[in-house]
């Protein structure tokens, strides 16, 4: 048993313990389990929302992307900020409507707003499809952490299975309460570790941030700015826009909105949360530091940059501490994602098929589904093949398709009809699926102007989505009007 492993195991056990402790003495009915009885104040909502940002994606994906791609990683800084600006306006109406109508999930929201259970089912399906890559990247991260920090003593496959089992067990017992407590512990630790690494590594290897960037610019000119083609300015803007709009479309992020105590709390958070994005800088510094220190990692291996550099720089015991932090970053969001997926299937798919099902049956089913969903995710994780960032962007391309019909439904008079909403969502998702499955890349369509080739596929799909939504809504609106007039 080497020096790093005990810390990793301790982290996992601590997370489990916190989960069990937080749930003791609380009666876990469906509402408690998913939205914590709606009593959370500003600080807890902040921690929960912020906790979701700091996932394996930030820790490993962010540093890996900076290491492997350079400037394109900056999109990660920009999109959260814009999402929070949007949240100031978009979230309070959602919260209010959910409270008035006692809603549990994002899917419920669509069912109510559009008076369409079928739309709710569609939304739930899109959510579940989008959540899988998101969960996969958490498990992938766990595999990397345990693999590298364990100095190869645990195989990545076994690590993934262990991680999935812990997350699943943890979720089945505690729900949102558990997540909030562990999130507080996790955020404290990751903040400390990331700030330390982000400053120590550049200073240790280069003598400072300025010298580091100068050295990189010298060795790899243009690495720290956006390229003319591929991940270019157009890619950047379209990706930032896609992910800013999609930020709250994730069902678990949507679910977190419901836990706020008031609309004012939500608006207050919009001021402070952008600042939290700055923590991402430190993770980029690590990635950049690694570029010249541990070169040679390519393709999906770029996600190993932070750990490879840590192994080169620090003693095993400290690598273990970093590994423990990493484990927590995967467990907390992983648990929230898993819980959300299970609840979606139980509450929005099963209950749609069996309306007679009561809360107790549904919550029991949700708990039973947790290991099932985990298994599906493990299967895809073991198949491999994508970087952490690529996986998340794939999820975003799907989930952002919910944005047009959601935002239109917040207006006093909803322009979109339920048919328009459904058609738009299906069109958007189909576009993404067609492009992803066929492997067609806009870059292979050389007749397209270069800027368009660089656009993020999700944004293109969103445009298709919106156009279809408008066309179908106009058509169905006209069809409904004569019928209404005749009835009068």
């Amino acid at each position: 048993m080497n020096g790093a492993l005990p810390f990793i195991i301790a982290a996992a056990l601590l997370a489990l313990a916190l989960g069990f402790l937080a749930s003791r003495g609380k009666d876990m009915n469906l509402e408690q389990w998913t939205v914590g009885g709606r009593g959370f104040g500003a600080i807890f909502v902040f921690v929960l929302l912020a906790g979701e940002i700091y996932t394996t994606f930030t820790f490993l994906g962010g540093s890996g992307y900076a290491y492997g791609k350079g400037a394109p990683a900056y999109y990660i800084l920009a999109y959260g900020t814009l999402a929070y600006v949007l949240s100031y306006f978009m979230l309070p109406p959602i919260w209010r409507y959910a409270k008035e109508n006692r809603l549990f999930s994002q899917s419920d929201f669509f069912v109510h707003k559009y008076d369409s259970p079928a739309l709710g089912v569609l939304v739930a399906v899109v959510d579940i499809v989008a959540l899988i890559p998101y969960l996969v990247l958490q498990f992938k991260g766990l595999g990397i952490i345990v693999d590298v920090a364990g100095y190869g003593s645990i195989s990545p496959t076994v690590a993934i299975w262990i991680g999935a089992a812990i997350v699943a067990t943890y979720v089945m017992v505690s729900g949102v309460h558990g997540s909030a407590w562990t999130a507080v512990a996790k955020d404290g630790l990751i903040l400390g570790i990331v700030i330390f690494l982000g400053l120590y590594l550049p200073f240790h290897y280069y003598g400072g941030l300025g010298p580091m960037f100068a050295a990189i610019e010298h060795a790899k000119p243009g690495f720290t700015v956006l390229k003319p083609h591929g991940e270019s300015l157009w890619w950047f803007s379209s990706t930032v826009l896609l992910t800013a709009l999609g930020f709250y479309m994730w069902p678990h992020s949507f679910g977190s909105i419901y836990t706020a105590r008031s609309a004012t709390v939500i608006r207050k958070n919009a001021i402070v949360l952008p600042l939290y994005q700055l923590i991402l800088l430190f993770v980029f510094f690590v990635g950049f530091a690694a570029t010249l220190q541990v070169p040679g990692l390519t393709g999906t291996k770029i996600d190993l940059a932070l750990f490879t550099l840590s192994v080169k720089t620090f003693d095993p015991w400290f690598v273990g501490v970093i590994g423990a932090t990493g484990v927590l970053t995967a467990l907390v969001p992983g648990s929230m994602i898993l819980m959300t997926a299970a609840t979606l299937i139980a509450n929005n798919l099963y209950r749609a098929a069996n309306p007679a099902a009561d809360d107790r049956q549904v919550s029991r089913l949700a708990k039973l589904l947790v290991p099932v969903v985990a298994l599906v995710a493990v299967f895809f994780t073991l198949k491999g093949g994508q970087t952490i960032v690529a996986l998340l962007l794939m999820g975003y391309s799907f989930v952002t398709q919910l944005f047009p019909s959601l935002v239109l439904s917040l207006a006093k008079r909803n322009f979109a009809t339920r048919e328009g909403a459904a058609a738009g969502i299906i069109a958007g998702v189909a576009t993404v699926a067609a492009v992803s499955l066929s492997g067609v890349n806009f870059h292979s369509l050389s007749w397209l102007p270069a800027p368009v080739q660089d656009l993020n596929i999700g944004i293109v799909a969103l445009a298709v989505n919106f156009i279809v939504l408008v066309v179908v809504s106009l058509a169905t609106r006209r069809a409904a009007a004569p019928a209404g007039a005749a009835a009068e």
Binding site: T81, Y88, F213, V225, F236, R267, L275
Partner: protein, 64 residues
């Protein structure tokens, strides 16, 4: 006054359009200009949101 909310468009312009004009590596506070631009705008966005919050009548009434 509610129209203060339009200030919120500024961060969008700064972060989606701005980069087209500052895509350079020139060091600013040790960081490449493009990165420094984004960082500065994150700080400014927070400030803008604070201004909007304080000026927004919705936050003053005892609105739940």
């Amino acid at each position: 006054m509610r129209s203060i909310r339009w200030l919120a468009v500024v961060p969008f312009l700064a972060l989606l359009v701005g980069p087209f004009f500052v895509n350079r590596a020139t060091p600013v506070l040790g960081l490449p200009l493009l990165l420094a631009w984004i960082v500065i705008w994150i700080l400014l966005t927070s400030l803008i949101m604070a201004v909007i919050y304080v000026a927004d009548p919705a936050n003053r009434e005892g609105e739940p």
